[in-house]
């Protein structure tokens, strides 16, 4: 569209979009924008706000541009307009896409931006900690309360209530001594103290409702009312008020924040006359006195300007700041860094803060320090009063000491962790045949990080060298020879299959290679090192998935994986990546005991892969998976191989070995009976092809008579002809049967495998009638 058309358009914000007043965040001035439908919030600068505030559908962009130029002394060019409208369009903030303005048409709440996800993050709710929603429709309840309390919103009533609150404060201050004495008495009457606590708990509930009511009176929305539990010891009502900072006047914002404390004080009003009128030795005196003192203290403590108390919010609203505490800290850290050394950068950053803000942030920081000292002192006095005598000399310093000790411990811990991280970083490449692995710094690893890897589809060149060398390895358990002189080597980056019947020695072989068992004879070398005894440098580079999946008791899938990652010194991202890789992203919160067989298997695989090992042992990883999951796992395995990892793979699915493996070793009776690529193995077997013909079309005798037929069987209603001359038999059979009825099955790895593993040991040769059942005959040997 032309510039003229663009400037003539009159876009408008969607009705209901909230635009907040100017606030300070750090050195900058920002305005908040919010879409109430999606909950998406946006922070924009004053210039953007200037434009957004004028997008009312009545003014054209040209007019707004004029005003902008007059205000800021600069004209907006076409690219800037496009950028602006695109920003609003993609956030779905414009009423109708004005003309051909680039941007998306409104698409409903589903297009919530990333920040919406932040607000709607799932809240963990357990028995001890969490939230329980108490009111199904909080806004409606607040509406009813709002109507019911209408009488109280007259200035006279509000003024009277505030006066009462002040009166309570004055009255408590006037007779503070008495009240303190009675509160002290209360500590020797635990039941009465508990009763006072219960009453104050109700007061806290009213405190929250007061926030809600005042907010509602100013037209804000109350999102949720419920109970919050903290570690099972504290349960309190809360009332979620949204968008306080969108209120036009700061006085209103402060009123919302301060309403709770006022409600606390008003709550005490009826108790005051009761307390004042009771005779001197009435039993209820300590209760009422304690209630008054503690209630007042609670209200005032809530007004202390430290996060997350109401006083902090009120201060923030009054000053028009966002995140006052954080920004103060940032500012003070910046100021401190300029003192330490002449840092030009820090000075420049510091200069961006206007004088008012400098004073504000510094003042708030100072105020925090003073408050913290006051809290420490109060805690010290409390300790002296509460803790048993005999320790008078040091009880006042107990809280300060505890905090200092905790700080020191943390510092030491961080130092130690840093030193440890530094120590484990470089793992020297042994023998120089493998690329160096860096366990904690993936960015300078030879492999790229998962994120970088995604776009890189070309398979990486195979690393040179061998991963595993076995030379004459043998192992026996008592009389049983589990392994009998096994020798082979696996190249780096190779996908190596180990096939064999149950009990053929596969597990023992894997355990010897990872160093869990010691070979009786022969040598094992993995990446140029000996795995026995437990070689931690090697273990970092090996990942093992076993059939008996071991998971940490009573943890969730995610917690388990996180734990394993930490045991390897990897971070949470590694755990997350592994979980996504095996397709368990949706099951992370399930307890490991509740997972299905297939899910357990996938979690076991993720466990083996979490530290990105160079050498991966997988023991029948697809055994409990459905066909679809199997195929998706194949893709994962191929990807791992593409990354140059070495994979040693045992399986009973020979189609799998055929599809995935570069080379296959077939083990039977503790010996390697064959070792080659799947294709070569099949060819070398010269295994016969099988022709299948429905049994009602041809008799066994007819089939036997065919030229070239070696063996004829009947299997499941089909006559099976085994032959090494499939073409000749086909032609012959076509004379008897319709060609379409004949199915041809060429030899697979399975045939080769069955032939090899069925080779009977001399002693038991006669007991084996047919090949397939013979495979089971070797099972007991181990």
């Amino acid at each position: 569209m032309t510039t003229a058309a663009l400037l003539a358009s009159r876009p408008a914000l969607r009705p209901g979009i909230l635009v907040g007043p100017a606030l300070t965040r750090g050195p900058a001035v920002v305005h908040l924008l919010k879409d109430p439908a999606t909950g998406v919030r946006l922070e924009v600068g004053p210039k953007e706000h200037f434009i957004i505030a004028r997008l009312d559908g009545a003014h054209s962009l040209a007019e707004i541009g004029e005003q902008y130029a007059a205000r800021f002394g600069a004209r907006l060019g076409e690219p800037q307009w496009h950028q602006m409208l695109r920003l609003l369009g993609t956030r779905n903030l414009l009423a109708v896409p004005a003309g051909a303005v680039p941007g998306r048409p409104p698409a409903g709440p589903a297009t919530a931006g990333p920040s919406a996800a932040g607000e709607q993050r799932p809240r963990r709710s357990g028995l001890l900690s969490g939230r329980t929603r108490m009111v199904a429709d909080a806004p409606a309840l607040m509406d009813r309360l709002h109507t019911a309390t209408g009488f109280a919103r007259r200035p006279a009533v509000v003024g009277g209530l505030l006066a009462l609150a002040v009166a309570v404060l004055v009255a408590v201050a006037a007779r503070l001594g008495e009240l303190i004495d009675q509160t002290r008495e209360l500590y020797h009457q635990p039941v009465t103290l508990a009763a006072a606590g219960c009453v104050l708990w109700v007061s806290l509930g009213l405190h929250e409702l007061a926030h809600g009511l005042v907010a509602r009176a100013y037209g804000l929305r109350v999102g949720e009312i419920g109970l919050r539990r903290v570690w099972g010891v504290m349960t309190y009502l809360y009332c979620e008020v949204e968008d306080v900072q969108f209120l036009g006047r700061r006085g209103q914002q402060v009123a919302v924040a301060a309403a709770g404390a006022v409600a606390n004080l008003l709550f005490l009003v009826p108790f005051w006359p009761a307390w004042a009128l009771l005779p001197d030795h009435a039993q209820a005196l300590p209760f009422l006195g304690g209630l008054l003192l503690l209630g007042t203290a609670m209200a005032l403590l809530n007004l202390v300007p430290l996060p997350p108390l109401d006083g902090y919010k009120a201060l923030g609203y009054a000053l028009g700041t966002l995140r006052l505490a954080t920004e103060s800290r940032t500012f003070l850290a910046l100021a401190a860094s300029t003192l330490r050394r002449p840092a030009v950068d820090a000075h420049a950053k510091l200069r961006r803060y206007p004088g008012r803000l400098r004073a504000l942030y510094a003042g708030y920081g100072l105020c925090c320090v003073v408050l913290a000292l006051a809290v420490l002192a109060a805690a010290g006095l409390l300790c002296r009063a509460v803790l048993p005598g005999g320790w008078d000399a040091w009880t006042p310093y107990l809280p300060a000491g505890a905090i200092a000790a905790a700080g020191l411990l943390r510092l030491l811990g961080l130092r130690l962790a840093a030193r440890k991280a530094a120590a484990t970083r470089p793992v020297p490449a042994p023998g120089g045949d493998a690329p160096a692995r860096h366990t904690t710094a993936p960015h300078d690893d030879q492999r790229t990080s998962p994120q970088q890897r995604e776009g890189d589809m070309t398979p990486q060149p195979r690393p040179a060298g061998t991963a595993i060398v076995l030379d004459g390895v043998s192992k026996h358990y008592g009389e049983v020879r589990a392994l009998d002189g096994v020798s082979f080597s696996v190249a780096q980056g190779e996908f190596f299959g180990v096939l064999g019947p149950n009990g053929a020695g596969k597990t023992t072989l894997v355990e010897i290679v990872e160093g869990m068992r010691k070979a009786d004879g022969g040598t094992v070398t993995v990446f140029g090192m000996s795995p026995w005894p437990r070689n931690t440098a090697l273990l970092r580079r090996i990942g093992v998935q076993t059939q008996t999946s071991a998971f940490f008791t009573r943890l969730t899938a995610w917690e388990h994986l996180e734990t394993v990652a930490a045991l390897h010194g990897a971070d949470r991202d590694a755990a997350r990546h592994a979980l996504e890789l095996v397709g368990l992203g949706g099951k992370e919160r399930s307890r490991v005991d509740d997972l299905s067989g297939g899910q357990r298997q996938r979690l076991a695989l993720a466990t083996a892969l979490v530290h990105q090992p160079d050498l991966i042992f997988l023991d029948e990883p697809t055994a409990a998976l459905d066909p679809e999951a199997r195929r998706s796992l194949w893709a994962v395995l191929r990807e791992l191989r593409g990354e140059g990892r070495t994979i040693v793979y045992t399986t009973h699915y020979l189609d799998e070995a055929e599809a995935l493996c570069d080379r296959v070793a077939i083990i039977a009776g503790g010996k390697v009976v064959a070792l080659d690529s799947p294709g070569a193995l099949i060819r070398s077997m010269a295994a016969p092809a099988r022709l299948l013909i429905p049994a009602d079309r041809i008799t066994v005798e007819q089939a036997r008579a065919l030229d070239g037929a070696e063996r004829v069987l009947v299997e499941g209603g089909e006559v099976v002809i085994e032959t090494r001359h499939a073409n000749r038999v086909l032609v012959e059979a076509a004379a008897l049967v319709d060609m379409d009825a004949i199915q041809t099955r060429t030899a697979t790895l399975e045939d080769a495998y069955l032939r090899l593993t069925a080779t009977p040991p001399p002693a038991a040769a006669e007991e084996r009638p047919t090949a397939p059942t013979a495979a089971a005959g070797t099972e007991h040997r181990r």
Binding site: L87, G212, R540, A550, L555, D571
Partner: protein
């Protein structure tokens, strides 16, 4: 009041926030957390860990209510520390023994073996959890015993009980690791642990005043770790602990922790399959 967290997206390039380096939790922390979560999520065990000593407290508190030993202390001053010592020791022995057996049987130890994490980290995290559980037990138990009904009075020197509790937990944890390494089934753990704990509780005077035991048993009971814990706690809570007796009790517990720890290290197995 709760204001919703302002999850704001800067529309304009925001003033750059410092990106903090991600902290990797160490194996120690995560193992401790895993062990702690596993303990806490086993609701039945949690319940009995805390309720069992309280039941004993109620039973013996009722039996000996208001009585005191001639020339000694009120009964509650024997029963409460005794039952507390037994309860803490029991939990520190059974929990790790069961956990070790389970971890070995379910191949979790093999899983840990395959990581570069050293064995002391694995056992150390157990100690941390056991100490935390022991301290929680002690707090709950003491709070109940302090109720006017039981009438225990703490002497001002009670913080001295903390090192005793920590060392006691360490000693019984070491014993628990020995039991957990010996036994391969839950039944075996329970049988061995009970055979160890029940006679020890009676011979050490956990359930009645040790001052009333026959002299030779009192002398012989010094070969039992529970005796040191019981003796130390009784003295500290009654305020009659001297530096010498306290050092003796702590020393005894340290010695037991070291001896059992060495034995446990000797017979530790990563796997049931050899």
């Amino acid at each position: 009041m709760t204001t919703t967290t302002p999850a704001t997206t800067p529309g304009t390039p925001a003033p750059g926030g410092k990106s903090t380096a991600k902290a990797v939790p160490g194996p120690y922390v995560t193992l401790t957390r895993a062990a702690f979560l596993a303990s806490v999520r086993d609701r039945t065990t949690v319940f009995f860990t805390f309720a069992f000593p309280l039941v004993f407290l109620v039973v013996f508190g009722l039996l000996f209510r208001g009585q005191s030993v001639d020339g000694g202390l009120p009964y509650i001053n024997y029963v409460a520390p005794g039952v507390l010592a037994w309860g803490v020791g029991n939990a520190a022995l059974f929990g790790p023994a069961f956990a070790l057996m389970h971890w070995r049987r379910d191949d979790i130890l093999r899983l840990i073996w395959r990581t570069p994490t050293p064995l002391p980290t694995v056992l150390g995290s157990r100690l941390l959890v056991a100490i935390a559980v022991g301290l929680m037990q002690a707090v709950l138990f003491t709070a109940v015993a302090l109720l006017p009904f039981f009438g225990l009075h703490l002497d001002g020197s009670w913080p001295l009980a903390l090192p005793l509790l920590v060392l006691g937990v360490a000693a019984f944890l070491a014993l628990g690791l020995v039991v957990g390494s010996l036994a391969d089934t839950p039944e075996a753990v329970a049988a061995i642990a009970n055979c160890v704990m029940v006679p020890m509780a009676f011979l050490s005077g956990a359930f009645y005043p040790a001052d009333l035991l026959p002299g030779w048993i009192r002398t012989a009971s010094w070969v039992l770790p529970l005796r040191y814990l019981d003796d130390g706690l009784t003295d500290v809570l009654a305020g009659r602990a001297s530096a010498g007796s306290l050092a003796l009790d702590c020393g005894g517990l340290v010695a037991f922790a070291v001896v059992f720890g060495l034995i446990a290290a000797r017979i530790f197995r990563w796997s049931n399959r050899t």
